[in-house]
Every structure is written in C-alpha cells, then in structure tokens.
Amino acid sequence: MTLVGSDGPAPPALAPAPVASVVDLRVHFRSKAGIVHAVDGVSFDIADGETLGLVGETGCGKSVTARSFLRLVPMPPGIQAGGSILFRPHRTCETCSGNGCAVCHESGRVPDACATCEGAGCETCAGSGYLTVDLLEIPEQDLRTIRGNRIAMIFQDPGKALNPALSIRDQLAEVFYQHRSAELLAAAAIDGEAGGPAGTLIRRKAALRSRLLEDALLSLPPLRARRNKLRAAADDRIVAALAETQIPNPRKVMDRYPHELSGGMRQRVMIAQALACDPDLLIADEPTTALDVTVQARILELVRELQSRHRTSVLYISHDLSLVRRVCDRVAVMYAGRIAEVAPAEQIFSDPSHPYTRGLLAAIPATSHERGRLVAISGTVPELINPTPACRFAGRCPFEAPVCRALEPEPKPTRDGHQVACFIHHPPRDAADGVPTFDRQVR
C-alpha cells in the first residue's frame, strides 16, 4: 500500500499527526563576542489545519525559527546546533478531489504514508505512519520540491520581498513553472512526452531550465505558438491565484511591477504567490507589520479566509498580541530563544500562566489604563551570548526564586493543551524550597 485512503479506511496506526513538529531546535550565530544562542531548544507542533501563533518581542528568535523551516537562515554566520523540524507533506485527497470528505477529515488533503513502514509506524516517521521528512536534514534538491510547494512563506515587507525588476507575472509564473510544469504542459495541450528537440525545448522552458539561446529559439515562429500556449496556461493560473486574493482586475495587475502597486496590493500578490501551489503549511512572518493599520485588518481577514478555504496550516509570527488573538487557534509565546508558554489562544488571554505572558498582556495599552501611561516589563532582554543554564526570564520576573537562576525550566503541560516553562507550575523535585509561587507575591 502506498496511498492512504485508496485502499479502504486508514489503518488505526494512522491517527492524525501534526503537519509539522519542531523538536528541540537550536540555531546559534557566530559573532565577535561569542556564540549567540538565538534559538535554544524550541519545540512545538503544528496540527493539521490549525493556525499557530508564534509571538514574542523583537530578537526573541521567532523569525529565525520560521526561516529554519525552509533553511533560509544564512549559514555561516548561523550554526545549526541541533534539533529537527519534522514535516509531513500532503497531497490532494483522491476520494473527493480536494473538496473535503470523511477520508480526509474535510481537509481535502491527505498525508502520504511512510515509505519505510507503509503506515505501520516506525522510527523514520516518528511512529506516525506518515511520510515524515526532517527539513533540516534532507538534501537541498528535495527541500526545493517542498519550498513554495508544500511549505510557503509570506514575508514581512512585501515591498522588499518582491523583486523590483520583474513583473508580477514573471514572479508568479516561476512558482508554477518550478512546481507544476507537467500540469502546465497538459493544460496547454502540449504533449509532455513529445520527442525531438522541439519537445525537449518546450519541456525545458516549462521547467525553468531554458537558457538564453533556447529562449531565443522558442521566440521564433515554428516554436513560438507552443511557447505562447504554455504562457497562456501559466497566465490562467496566475490570474486565478491573484483573483483569489481579491485583487481587482488581476489580468492588468499581472503586467505591473511591484513599485506600481500599493503596500496592501503587494502583500496580496505575496499571498497569491504563497498559496499558488496550495501548500500544507503557510509561514506568515509578520505579514502585516509593514502595512497601514487599515490595510492590516483587510490582509488579516484575507489570510484567515483563505486559510479556512484551503484548510492550510499556518504558522503566524507576530509581536502583536491583539492580532494573534484574532487569527490563531493556539499561541506559542517565545522569550529569548525559548518557548515560554503554549496554549489555546483563548486561554493565553484569559488565563496566562507564564509571568512573561502576563507581562506582555499587561503591556497592551487598554482604555482602562490611565491616560498617557504605558505599562512595560521592567529590565531588558538578556544577552544570548553563551547563556548559563537558568530561566531566561530571571532578572525581570516578579516571582523570581533562587532556583530560577540555577536551573532551566522546560515547557511541561499544566492542563489540557497548555504548556508552560516555569517553576511556578513545575517545581523541580530536588529543590523543594526556594520555588517561586504566585501566592507569595501580590498579583
């Protein structure tokens, strides 16, 4: 059995597995002053179809975590110091052709079965029975088939993330040519198996492999018609992708250059580009930070709508808690390269457990605060150069106890779906005294 769902019901071993799991990720940077532990033992899961928010202040390692998914952290100066990012690529559900049915749990997508154990659960698939790849380990070539195809990314500033020298059409077409070249050839009614130099040329063109001279040949009469058909096929897909992000007049926008579009339009183009291949996981790295507040709301709405339509899992990175509350199912709070707390979005806001999360929430300006006064967490973020084992929040924490300076708290579950890395909730066994409690302090 190679295809899940095509041979009757899935075996019991195939319980839903997270689409991606970050396990003890460590990314360090070499600097003149020493090794900066930018991400230092981060673990979290992204369940299929959920939106996970990753929040934290600037420099806490959230962007580095996100970029690690696609190995976009430059090495050097970056060092992959350990951990893994397990990813389970999906494909369109055959039973419902992506419309959502019982087999695929209404998601329209099914994960591929593990090639080693054929769904029984083994070491390579971390016992899930699904095809599992470690994004940090797979060869560059395999990673490229995942980038932009199964995992896509939206960047913070669409003005910078779009190439100023290429038209919107050129930039979106690349995604289709790179990942959907066979489908494009089929849509253009070009025989993908056609022999002879002409067949080879057009196939190379469709796979972005053609060189300058080949392009010149393809622009000459006998081959030109075929090239134009291929282009038209790509154009149709580009228009469809743009239309989905509610860009007015996509056929016109296609011929524009990034500088001719507004910030909101550019971000829509980025989103269209990211969702072009219907990815399993969308990484949104502060997608609204560079935009006007009025545009922010609309982009946010769009991401949420597209997410529910495509049932894509989203890793939403932000420093803005109020935004995260509106889009995310679960929230992971990062502080100084570590996870402080993971919880369902509502719980984070109604019942924060980690002192840092509390501080963050208290710092959100609210109408109830006295006018002109802003609440801040006292102290500053620690230096991350060669840190000693201690709670990273020690020194700024109002509940600090001696143990916080001696040991490093690990995230552990407190109640349903809630994990906290704090000794208040998980007193270390051998240090019974000197454990911080909320009770000793006035809240």
Partner: protein, 337 residues
C-alpha cells in the same frame, strides 16, 4: 510610459546635445591656438599669412567661423589633415574602423568577462574564488596601461614571439577586399580563415591590454553590487519559492546587480577610447588614437576637432544606450521621468 516611448524621447533630444557639444568642441580647440598654425613657417610674409587667414575665414568673427566649420561638418567636410596629408574624412573612416575593432572587441570581452567574474566572486563571497578575483581585478585597475602594454609586448612579442604587433600580415591583408575595414569582419566576408586567424592574432595583445582594466572595474562593481543584492529579502523569497540557487542568482540577484554595473560599463567605454591611444602607439595599431596623438603634438586642429567631436557623439550614444539598458533593467526609471 513604455520603454519604446522613452527611447524615442531620448533620441529626439540627441541632435540638440550634438549641437551643444560641437560648440564646446569648436570653442575649446580655438582656445588651443590658430588652426593654420600647422601651415605657418618663419619664411612666410605677413601678406601670405593674411591670405591664409582670409582663405580659412579667420578674419571673420568666431561665431561665423563656427558656422563655416559646422556647415562643413554637415556636408561631410572635416577639413584637411596636415599630419596625414589628406582630407580628414578620407583618413578618418579606415582609422576609425581599426580603433573600433580594437575597442569593441575589448569591450565585449570586458563586459562578458567582467560580469561573469563579478557574479562568480559575488556568489562566493569571502571564499577563495572571491579572493583570487579580487587580486586579479585590483591589479587590473591599479596597473598603468602603458606599463602593462609594454610588459605584454616584451614577454609575448620580444621573448616568446607568440603574438605579432601591428594590425595584419601585409600579404594576407592584400589578399582580401576590405569593404568594412574591420579586418576580422572583412576576412569572414571573404571566407578567408587564414586572414581571420591573422586578424585575431594581431588583435589579441592590444585587446587584452585595453580590456584588462575595464574587466577589472566591471568585475569589482558587479561583485559588490551582487553581494549587496544577495542580502535583499526578495532573494530569500525566491529561494522560498523553491527556485534552484542557479535561478535565484541568474533571474533575481544578478538582474538587479546589473543596474549599477551598467553605469560603470558605460563609463569604461571612455576608459577604452582613452586607453586606445596608448595601446595603439605601443602595438603599432594604425587607429585613430595614434593619429590623434601625432595631431595633438603637431597642432593639426582639423583632426583634433574631428576626433573630439566624434568621441563626444560616441559618448552621447553610449550614454543613451546605458540609460535604455537602465530603463530595461529597472522599470522605476521610466516611471520617474
């Protein structure tokens, strides 16, 4: 605005610029001395000098003299070259062809090699290929042209005897017709590969001399702007799309890195023309540069004016080409007009 409209607009301004340039050229050469200086000698009487002045309209006001000259230029009459002992127009074209053959072949090599080297080095920043390219290009930019030329001459002509000097083997030159006066092109038209080989043979040393400096400058510029572009977000975004590194470099980073490089390429064309004077003298290349050097030394004003006017117009055209290339690479230029 479309790029086509942009080019048309720029072309329409070109004649005005040429007129402006010609006035400056005329004024500057006039400051440099009397145009009949080359014909005068101590034995001539006052009357003879006055007669010459009248014949060349030197007794008229300077603006009128300009019109005489300008209308001559328009009719294709650039005056008489004392150095070549022939009308400037007759000598100019063959010599221009020789210089162009040299300058253009150096330019092609410099542009192709410079961009390739710069890309190669920039994509491998601070690794061995980058350091080697740096050594190559800094020595190219720092070495005086005349010294490098003499060095090549001594090593490859005097000692090794691998390459000849001059422009051609006289027998082979006489064997074919010369419709364009570009030896390489003429030999290809004639289908004479022996002559073609001879043409390339003779071209190599002066072209290398001339091209090295320009290659070095272009490679440096390309390398540094590529390094800068590779840090941009759109490069990561291109990688995030799943493009192979080859395409990230070629379709994304290099295209943008070419924008500043194109300016340098335009400027280096001036460097090539300037260098051609030295290269032509050292390698006995019968081009404009050598003729020009002789003319300056002997005060042959008609030739000087023709040469300066020509180079100025050439610069205007190169400048236009650079701007068009710029607009093609960076659409914001067209919009900003």
């Amino acid at each position: 605005m479309q790029i086509r409209d942009y080019i048309i607009r720029r072309l329409m301004v070109l004649p005005l610029l040429v007129v402006g340039v010609s006035i400056i050229v005329f004024a500057l050469t006039r400051i440099g001395g009397s145009p009949i200086g080359i014909y005068l000698s101590h034995e001539m009487s006052q009357e003879e000098v006055a007669e010459l002045e009248e014949r060349f309209h030197l007794d008229d006001p300077v603006p009128v003299q300009y019109f005489y000259w300008a209308s001559g230029v328009l009719r294709g009459d650039l005056g008489w070259s004392g150095v070549a002992a022939a009308p400037v127009t007759d000598v100019f074209l063959p010599k221009l062809a020789a210089t162009m053959e040299l300058a253009v072949s150096s330019a092609i090599v410099a542009v192709v090699l410079g961009i390739a080297l710069g890309t190669f080095a920039g994509a491998r920043r601070n690794r061995l290929p980058d350091h080697l390219t740096r050594v190559f290009s800094i020595s190219g930019a720092a070495m005086p042209l005349f010294w490098f030329a003499i060095l090549l001459l001594i090593v490859f002509w005097v000692y090794l005897g691998w390459f000849p000097i001059g422009r051609s083997d006289p027998d082979l030159w006489a064997r074919i017709d010369h419709p364009t006066n570009l030896y390489t092109v003429d030999s290809l038209i004639a289908g004479d590969f022996g002559a073609f080989r001879d043409a390339v043979w003779h071209l190599t040393l002066p072209a290398v001399t001339l091209g090295y400096g320009a290659t070095a400058i272009i490679a440096r510029m390309m390398r540094s702007s590529l390094v800068e572009e590779l840090q941009e977000d759109y490069v990561d975004a291109a990688r995030a799309k799943g493009l192979p590194e080859r395409l990230v470099l070629r379709r994304h980073a290099r295209r943008n890195a070419l924008i500043p490089t194109v300016t340098v390429i335009g400027l280096s064309f001036g460097f090539l023309l300037q260098g051609s004077v030295v290269a032509e003298i050292i390698f006995q290349w019968p081009g404009l540069g050598r003729w020009m050097a002789d003319s300056v030394l002997r005060g042959d004003q008609a030739t000087i004016m023709a040469y300066v006017l020509f180079t100025s117009v050439l610069f205007l055209v190169v400048n236009l080409a650079v701007d068009v290339a710029y607009a093609y690479l960076d659409r914001r230029v067209v919009l900003g007009e």
